[in-house]
Amino acid sequence: MDVFLQQVVNGLSLGGIYALIALGYTMVYGIIELINFAHGDVYTLGTFFSLAILTGLGVSGEVHGPALVGVVVVTLLASMLLCGITGVLIERLAYRRLRNAPRLAPLITAIGMSFILENVMQLWRGPSPIPFPDVIPNPSFNLGVVSINVKQIGVVLLAIALMAALQFFIYRTKLGKAMRATAQDRDAAQLMGIDINTTIALTFLIGSALAGAAGFVSGVYYGTTWFFNGFEAGLKAFTAAVLGGIGNVAGAMLGGFLIGLIEAIATQYIPGGAQWSNVVVFSVLVLVLIFRPSGLLGESLPEKV
């Protein structure tokens, strides 16, 4: 039982990272019905940006006191901003022209963008895993049966906070309303005077910024990064988005935490553990798509003619 609860704690913190990435998939899919394959790589780019910023700030080990808050806030925000800009650029250069093309075309373009980003990162920092400085002091708290450390609490809190901010933005602001309108019916939204291009660019900005946040968090959490990280993390986060109901922001969050839990528990209880965890996650994806393609919180829509 102790082991199980401990894996629940581990799974939730893992899930916080997946949830942040999944939000970007779900937002982009919701508005232009594109599986943005490059999104996982934007997330990895987030760890690379964070690493570069930390190096720029001269941080190479633990930081304490007020300086810690400064370092974390600056790195987090800068990583979010840089990833957000990257996302907007990708949309502008690669996807916008293909908005009305057959669906295969933007999908193939997205795979191409993913390969380009991976190669750029490989050329930037080399093909091997890169250590990430251990910025945050990490004491653990023993809560009887399980122990939780500061990083794990931080991941979950940050994921929930960003998700709450996103919900507020989407449902309580005018720009959020424009986004929802565009997702629902692009033509009608345009007729109502909504600038479609800006709205879609904004979606990419926010989704990619969340991936940037996830990138910083995962760098601190795992203490390492690699140019090819985004492929696997991206697939898992996409699975999370589908599990929760693609296009649904709360669903992405729920799906992210569930996938984290499934992965942590599968790693613990399946003989041979970690090496089957990917197989388990993809099997979940296939099963969800077959039996409940609208996901847990999504509503099923009839096929558009």
Binding site: E33, L107, F282, V286
Partner: protein
């Protein structure tokens, strides 16, 4: 006429060019031509984006490695495996297709991607049968009328040439058959195709199974030639490489995908290494082979943006791709 000349040139090539590495290159390129022809049935004809095509290549290769080596002491002859492996690969195609083909196009793509990850991972994890990361080596050498193939690439070159010829014939006949027209109808408008009485599920399944069978063939020939299979030969980048061949050459056009496949093999095996050697000779510390994946990415993005029908397009596919692009957005 032109075709006859090409056939003579290809048949005579090993006699004219005594450089074994060139023949070796052509034999490897041949395996990828077969893969491209197979994926073209799925993506080009039926319009289903399969991102895990390398999985079937892996299944074909591993079936040869397991049924024709010391691994289990089973020694099925190479020529018989050329019949068995496509069937095995096709069965796996059905296995993957049956539950997933009802899904919409982009979901299908991601499920096939997952499948493409699971298959090599499974071969890697089941180490007691597959030797895990080391793979299976010392596969049986094919022989013809008692003459073993030996370590020259030339016999494999001819085998692959023959397989490609069969593949082209099969693909052409399929394209012009009732089934082929049904694939194109589905590609253009699935809903309309269904209303015309096409059973979309079985038609799509047929595309998956037949496309997979090509990579079964390619897998047997490639494994026998390389004398080794290991899980890292069948990653996502192989699936994307074959897809790039299609996109470059022209999805849906048999000659287009052959040319696209050959061009990319040439770039990979000659152009990039040679440019690197030249750069080093010129005192530049550049390794162009590091840009390989960048190249696939750039091909996919720029072709989709500027010439989605490929360099040698199928006329019908070009019309579809441009027609929809020009249509108003609610279409």
């Amino acid at each position: 006429m032109g075709l006859g000349f090409l056939v003579v040139a290809l048949l005579g090539f090993p006699f004219m060019d005594r450089n074994n590495s060139h023949v070796d290159f052509l034999a490897n390129a041949g395996a990828f031509v077969l893969l491209a022809l197979g994926l073209n049935i799925v993506v080009g004809f039926a319009g289903l984006l399969d991102l895990g095509y390398a999985a079937f290549f892996a299944i074909g290769s591993y079936s040869y490695a397991m049924l024709a080596s010391q691994q289990f002491g089973i020694h099925v002859p190479f020529w018989l495996m050329l019949l068995v492996a496509p069937v095995v690969a096709a069965l796996f195609g059905l296995l993957l297709g049956a539950p997933t083909l009802r899904l919409r196009g982009d979901y299908l793509a991601i499920v096939t991607l997952g499948f493409g990850e699971i298959v090599p991972q499974t071969f890697l994890n089941l180490a007691q049968y597959t030797n895990g990361p080391n793979g299976i080596s010392s596969l049986d050498q094919p022989s013809l009328f008692g003459h073993p193939f030996g370590f020259s690439a030339t016999p494999y070159y001819y085998v692959l040439l023959g397989l490609i010829a069969i593949g082209i014939l099969a693909a052409r006949n399929l394209q012009n058959s009732r089934l082929g027209r049904a694939w194109m109808a589905i590609r253009e408008d699935e809903l309309a195709a269904r209303h015309m009485g096409i059973n979309t599920t079985t038609t799509k399944l047929a595309a998956f199974a037949l496309g997979a069978s090509f990579s079964g063939l390619a897998g047997v020939a490639y494994a026998a030639k390389l004398d080794l299979v290991s899980p890292d030969q069948f990653g996502f980048n192989v699936s994307v490489l074959v897809l790039s061949m299609l996109v470059l050459g022209g999805m849906g056009n048999i000659w287009g995908v052959i040319v696209g496949s050959f061009v990319l093999s040439f770039v990979n095996s000659f152009l990039l290494p040679q440019s690197t050697t030249l750069a080093h000779a010129a005192g530049l510390n550049l390794d162009f082979t590091n840009y390989r994946f960048m190249l696939y990415g750039v091909i996919l993005v720029s072709m989709m943006l500027f010439r989605p029908e490929g360099l040698i397009p199928s006329r019908q596919r070009a019309a579809e791709l441009h027609d929809v692009a020009a249509a108003p957005e609610s279409a």
